[in-house]
Amino acid sequence: MGIPNPSVNSPVQLKTPKTSEKDLKIESKASVIWRRYKKNKLAVIGLLVFSTMCFLAIFAPLLTPYKPDVYDILDQFLPPGNDPFSGKFHLMGTDAMGGDVWTRIVFGARISLSVALLACICTVSVGIIYGAVSGYFGGWIDNIMMRIVDAIQSIPTFFLLLIVAAIITPSLWSTVLVLSVFGWTGMARIVRGEILSLKKRDYVEAARATGEKKASTIFYHVLPNAIAPITVIATLDIAANILAEASLSFLGLGIQPPTPSWGNMLTSAQELTTVMDYVWVIIFPGSFIILTVLAVNFIGDGLRDALDPRMKE
Amino acid sequence: MSTTMTKTDTLVSVENLKTYFYTEDGIVPAIDGVSFEVKKGETLAIVGESGSGKSVTSLSIMRLIPQPPGKILDGDIKFQGESLLAKSDKEMRAIRGNRISMIFQEPMTSLNPVYKVGDQISETIILHQKKNKKEALAEAINLLNLVGIPEPERRINQYPHELSGGMRQRVMIAIALACHPELLIADEPTTALDVTIQNQILQLMKNLKQKSNMSIMLITHDLGVVAEMADRVVVMYSGQIVEQGDVFTIFENPKHPYTEGLLKSMPSAEKRVGKLYAIDGVVPNPLNLPPGCRFADRCEYATSLCHQEMPQIQEINENEVVRCWKYTDRWEA
């Protein structure tokens, strides 16, 4: 996600222009997108913040002297700073089990971000296929498939998530499954809508007239054109997944301790005394969730402006 | 064609008007030093392709340029001798819809979908004439009669979507005429309508004008409409006036190559040749205007002078001005 790949879809090879400077500058598609993206300052900040989070996740072991799953109950609820007894330094204090909060945050970033990305890959794939099939075939197939989407979207998402989470034994993969199993409906709707509108355009008709088969018509002509809304929705899905993982884990139905995730770090906050007396235990992981979701949403907003000016309000 | 002009009193004078738009991609000089007059009782047509600045001219007179991105940079607009640009917002509102009113190109979308037709007409009357709701609705019925809408008593209780495009444009005209304006600006009033409806609307405007002493400023790209309606013509190209004169001179003896091209591309009953003429090329990108004449790239007479230096607008005889090197002493043909 993030930086557009410069090699994709660039219709013109950039060569040093021999003609005069007055000639219209020919930019590659990627550099046009990047130029438009850069105009949105919040989107640039969002990209920086999100990259930092990924950096923390990747280099987690190098960023802390502690292990995420080794801790001493005697160290519980130490405030941020130096512990006068052991002399150990805890940047963000320790939690109810005596784990170092900063350590669990950087290792939790690995889990929370991978769960969100993996679930996003699943929902995007299912959504694209479902939406493409529904939109391309149309008629009663489309009608039935879309009524199913309507029905799923009518049931509050979180009820569905909780049920699935309650049925299966919680783990990392089950969390990915829970987030994916009903999360694809928005993407399916968008892809279907794009396909319906693109289907009517001339070049798809032309492709059909020249005898291209239906399925290949979808993939070669329709989907590249739908890439803008798909990318934007996928980005926003990542943000939604981070939030959903946090909420599930908060209730104890997502990632299970001792594996750290940003959501399960907040589970102890169900005890109001923790909230009252050891506020660092919830403030730091909470801030990382908010910051990351904010950053991803800003990226989505910037991509919307950059990829498809028509989608801009 | 209309009667020859006898009155010479000026109603509106636009003096060296410059309206620019400051967009993300750069500055667009939508109107770049435009001067003309609208005389009392006359119909002045402003002709040009889309992007020539004709609509921006009319919105500038109404002071309805969205700001930002638009801005009136220079020049003045005088209405009955008073500068409109110097007026406060409140003074300007008392003029809009009252002494100067406007009808737009898109009758389908120019009326508010959630209010009844009668309310939309009477709103103007209540605002400017200090009448109560009942009197205003009675007046609205009169106006609908005037613009030729049958069963006005029933129509005032209908919503815009219940009326056809032609009917909606008649309602727009009724709203515009509600306060007996001195100037009616009609921005492509018939473009969006069917041909038969177009003629009805034009006839209606002509009749209404004869009944009052108002002036009409007609914005159009359709020379057929110009021939039908106008006393004088202003031809605009790329934000500038390229030619201005009375309708006979323009049609019989066009001076500017662009006007010439426009007339040639006009379908006519007399010269039924096989193919319609079209001017080659496109309007220059307003973000990247050439240093010389803006029409030079499309002009069959263009010389190197035309490409290098912008011709100035000049009076070549009484009531006829043109912006072209051809009519200067620097022209070597």
């Binding site: 309000e313 | 979908p113 727009m172």
Partner: protein, 320 residues
């Protein structure tokens, strides 16, 4: 108009049908004997159970099972019994619905009162410092998990400042005490409204921006109307129409948010019932609340469609 409403009602029926299928399928995935959920542990109804076993046809193919289950649901309103206390599920849920509705309705009203002026103001003063401020705030509002905002609200306003009670519906159980009720309702409903305000003000802003561009707004200006009249009479009424749909569309998210808010504020509504049911794996209750929530959403959409028709005169012709 009547035709339009009838058509909408007819469209809702297959939706309810599919919702019931989804609920049933999820239920059949749950571990354990499906008859267990009709078991009433308090009553010790051995004979009844075998009758239900017969009725359900455990050995029948799944579509026959579904048919029997649906018949029981539609004809008798029987959703089974709670595993926890043997109470009929439907009864148990219906006891909790008023508290949830009160909480959600209050949150919706608060969000409308706050979000619409913000949206209008941001659109009219586009790219002003206020617009940027509200844009950022609403992004923040969307990024904060609802349970986290609830925790912070409890920490700051209940625990530190002691302005509001920490939990519950009321303290005075002897009589109806309006002030007591409002005092308890304030914090959870404001917390629940927080996320709604964020998204609704964004929708309102873009709806208003869209309307401001319309030709009829230019017509209103050309009439000489004041900017206030142009915005509040001509633009606002049109901009509000799509917001009706947004209200209905936000409802599923609102249910989701209320799960956490009710849980954290110990608010005795459907959300808290569901979360508790999940903790003790009381599948019957979970399925019940899910179905009821889905049905409520479908009905709200129906109501929104009808409101739409009342507000927008163009609908009355019967065009889509």
């Amino acid at each position: 108009m009547t035709k339009y409403i009838i058509r909408r009602v007819l469209q809702a029926i297959p939706l309810l049908f599919i919702i019931s299928i989804i609920s049933f399928l999820l239920m059949s995935l749950a571990p354990g004997d499906p008859t267990a959920m009709y078991e009433n542990p308090e009553a010790g109804n051995e004979q009844d159970l075998s009758a239900i076993r017969e009725q359900l046809g455990v050995d029948d193919p799944i579509y026959v099972q579904y048919y029997k289950w649906l018949k029981l649901l539609v004809l008798e309103g029987n959703m089974g019994y709670s595993f926890q206390d043997g109470q009929p599920v439907l009864e148990k849920i219906l006891q909790r619905v008023p508290a949830t509705l009160l909480l959600m309705a209050t949150a919706i009203v608060i969000s409308i009162i706050i979000a619409i002026p913000i949206g209008v103001f941001s659109a009219v003063k586009k790219y002003s410092i206020f617009d940027y401020f509200f844009t950022f705030t609403s992004f923040l509002g969307i990024a904060v998990p609802s349970f986290f905002i609830a925790l912070i609200a409890i920490l700051v306003f209940s625990l530190k400042l002691s302005w509001f009670p920490v939990s519950g519906l009321r303290e005075n159980y002897d009589a109806f005490d309006l002030w007591d009720r409002i005092h308890h309702l304030a914090l959870p409903s404001l917390t629940l409204a927080f996320g709604l305000i964020a998204s609704k003000s964004r929708y309102m802003r873009s709806s208003m921006l869209e309307v401001i561009k319309q030709d009829y707004v230019r017509t209103a200006r050309a009439k000489g109307l004041s900017e206030g009249k142009v915005i509040f009479k001509h633009a606002l009424r049109n901009a509000l129409i799509p917001i009706i749909t947004i209200l209905a569309l936000q409802l599923p998210a609102l249910f989701g948010g209320s799960l956490f808010i009710e849980q954290l504020f110990a608010w005795p509504g459907m959300g808290r019932l569901t979360v508790n049911a999940i903790f003790i794996r009381d599948y019957q209750v979970i399925m019940g609340t899910t179905m009821i929530a889905g049905v409520m959403v479908v009905f709200s959409n129906l109501i929104a469609d009808i409101c739409y028709a009342i507000v927008d005169p163009r609908i009355q012709v019967g065009k889509n």
